[in-house]
Symmetry: C2
Subunit: 379 residues, 2 copies
Amino acid sequence: MKSKLFTPGPTKVPGAVLNAVGQQVLHHRSPEFSEKVRHVQDELGRLLQTHNDTLLFTCSGTGMMEAAVANLLSKGEKAVCVNGGLFGARWADICRVYGVEVVDVVLEWGKSIGPEELAKVLDEHPDAKVVFVIHSETSTGSLNDIRALAKVVEGHDAVMAVDATSSVGVHEIRMDEWAIDLIVAGTQKALMTPPGLAFVALNGRAWSLVSGSDLPKFYFDFTKTWKRLQKKGQTPFTTAVSLVYGLEVALAMMETEGWDNVYARHQRMGDAVRAAVITLGFDVLPEVPVNGLTVAVCPEGLDGNRVVRVLDDEFGVRIAGGQDRLSGKVFRIGHMGAIRERDLSMVIAALERALHEMGHPVKAGAGLSALQQVLLGTM
Amino acid sequence: MKSKLFTPGPTKVPGAVLNAVGQQVLHHRSPEFSEKVRHVQDELGRLLQTHNDTLLFTCSGTGMMEAAVANLLSKGEKAVCVNGGLFGARWADICRVYGVEVVDVVLEWGKSIGPEELAKVLDEHPDAKVVFVIHSETSTGSLNDIRALAKVVEGHDAVMAVDATSSVGVHEIRMDEWAIDLIVAGTQKALMTPPGLAFVALNGRAWSLVSGSDLPKFYFDFTKTWKRLQKKGQTPFTTAVSLVYGLEVALAMMETEGWDNVYARHQRMGDAVRAAVITLGFDVLPEVPVNGLTVAVCPEGLDGNRVVRVLDDEFGVRIAGGQDRLSGKVFRIGHMGAIRERDLSMVIAALERALHEMGHPVKAGAGLSALQQVLLGTM
C-alpha cells in the first residue's frame, strides 16, 4: 500500500495534474510551449498579485534561494538573514558561500520576528543591501508577517527578499501592494505540482540591485532569463516541460476554486488540525502558526520520528518528522494544496491509532471530535 | 495534430516512461524513494561503465556543466575549453563568469579536435587544471574522440571533464577504462526522459580538485550531495521525483534491449539518415558525425528554418533548425533514444514532401531508397 501523503511538501498531487505531467513532451523551443510558459507566468503573477514578471527555473526552492543571493548581491556586501529555522539558516549559509557579509538574526525555533526587532537590526546595519526572510518556515511551522516587515525594510533603503515556498497558495501575498521586492518559491507544496520547478518574481528595486551584482551565476542568471522570456517566451536552458504542464493545470484548478476560497480553506484546515493535536495533548510549536502544516511538540518519552514511522508502516499515512535540532522532538502534519477538509479525519484517526499502539494515552476520537467541531464551526 | 518529435533533445518519450512520470509522487525522504535513487545511480554507473558514484541533480545539462566548473576549479586557475560549437562555447562562457582563466580552443563549426592538437595546447599551458570537452556537439553534430583525448590529458596532469548530454546512450563510453575523470549529462536526449534531470560521475582525480576548489556553490555542491547520498540514499534538496521514476523505466528499457544493441541501432540510424540526406543533395556538416542527430547543410537559397517550419506545420514532423551562426543554414534531424529504425521513413518522407512543396528539386523516394538500402544492408 502506498502511503497517503500528509507531508509539508512534496504534497499529494491531484490526478488532473498527474495526467498533464504524463503527456508526451512538447519541444521547449516550440511556439505551443512558449504559450504555456507565458500562460503560467501570467497566472503566477495573479497568484502573487503583482505586475512584475515571474521567471521559471528547473530546480528546487533552495536553488531559487541561491539564485536570489547570487543575482542581488556583490562580494563583501552585507545582508540581513532572518534565521528562525532550517530554511532561514539556509539564507545565511548561502550568503556565506558567496562571500556576502551576514547579519544573522537568530530566532528561537518556533518564534517569528517582529517589525520592531527588524527595524532595530536595520538601524544598526544601515549598509545592509538585502533582508532575506522566510514567509512560512517549514521546519517550525512559523509564519513571519511579511507585510509588516516589508514596510520596515522599505523605510531603510534595503531590498526585501522572501522565500514563499510553503506559503504561496496557503496565505495571501500582495506583492505589489505590500512592496515586497523579490519572492522565490518552489511549486511542489501548495501549488500541487511534482517537485522540480521554482520561480522568482522581482520588482524594479530588486532589478536595480541585479544590475550591479558581481557574484557569479550562469544557469540562475535572472537577466539572461528575463531577456529570453521577453524575446521569445522561452527559458534560456531546457525546462522541465512536463512539470510546466502540471503547474498550468494546478494553477487553473486554484483559479477555479477562487484564490480567496483557497486561502479560507487553508485557514480552516490549519485551525482544525491545530485543535485536534492540542486536544490530544500536544503543544503546537510556533508562536504564530502557518496554515499549511502543523508542528506538534512531543512530550518527554515520545519519539516524534517513531510516530512518523508507525503512521507510515501501520496506518498508511505519511507525515514528516522534525528536521535538524527538532529531530525526534516534533512531528509535522502537512495540510496544503490538494489536501481537502475531508482528508483530515484520515490523518487524525491514524494519529490516534498510532499513539495508542505506541502506548501513549489517547482518548479514542478526542482529536477527531475537536477537528469536527472546528469544521462545523462549533468551536 | 501534435507533431512527432525528431528533435535532438528533448526527444520523444516512450509511453512506459510517461506512465511512470505520471504516477503519484513518493516523498523524497521516504525509504522507497531512496531505493529508486540508488537503483538509478547504479544503472547510470553501468551505462558509463564506471565504478565511480553518480550524483543526480534537478536541472538542465547546462546547470550540470556549471556545476562541474564551480566544483573543480578555483578563481584564477586555468582551464582549456574545446570550443567547436554552441555547447563548447558554453564551457568557456561559464568559466569566464567564475573568473577562471580560459584557453579557448576555437574550432571551425563542424570540426572535431585531434589528440595532437590538444597535446600541443596542453604543452603550451602546462598549468591548465581541467580540459572541458563536449563529446557530441549538438549544435554541429560533431563527435570528439574522448578516448584519444583522455589519453592526452592523462599524460599532462590535468583533469578531463566531458559533457555527454547528447552522446550518452548513443555512443559507448567506458569511463574507467578510458580514464575520463568527470562526465556530466542531461537525461532528456537518448535517455528518453522528460527534461529536468542531469547527473555527474567523477573519479578520484576529479574529487581531488573538488576538495581544493574555492568557487561558490550551494545547490550544485558535489561534496554535500555525495555525503547525503552515502549516508541516506537521498539528494540534499528536493529532487524531481517524477522524473526519477521515468529515468528508472527508461534505463531498464535500455538494459533490456542491451547496451550493445542500443549503440548498434544508433549507428545504423545515423548511417541511414546521413545516406538519405546526402542522396537528397545535402552536405552533412560534421567532419566526424555523431549518431544521435544529422546536421544537413542547406544550399544557397534554401532557408533551413523554413524547412523546419514547413515540416512542422504541414507534415506533422518536428525537426530542429540551426543554432546561433548556423541559424537558417542547416537543419538538424534527431534520431536517438526512443526513435527506432521504423520511424525514420516518416521523417525522410516528410522531408522530401516539404522540399518539394518549397520548390526545391527532389526525386520522389530517392531519400527513402537510400535510407532503406542502408537498413537492408545493401548500401
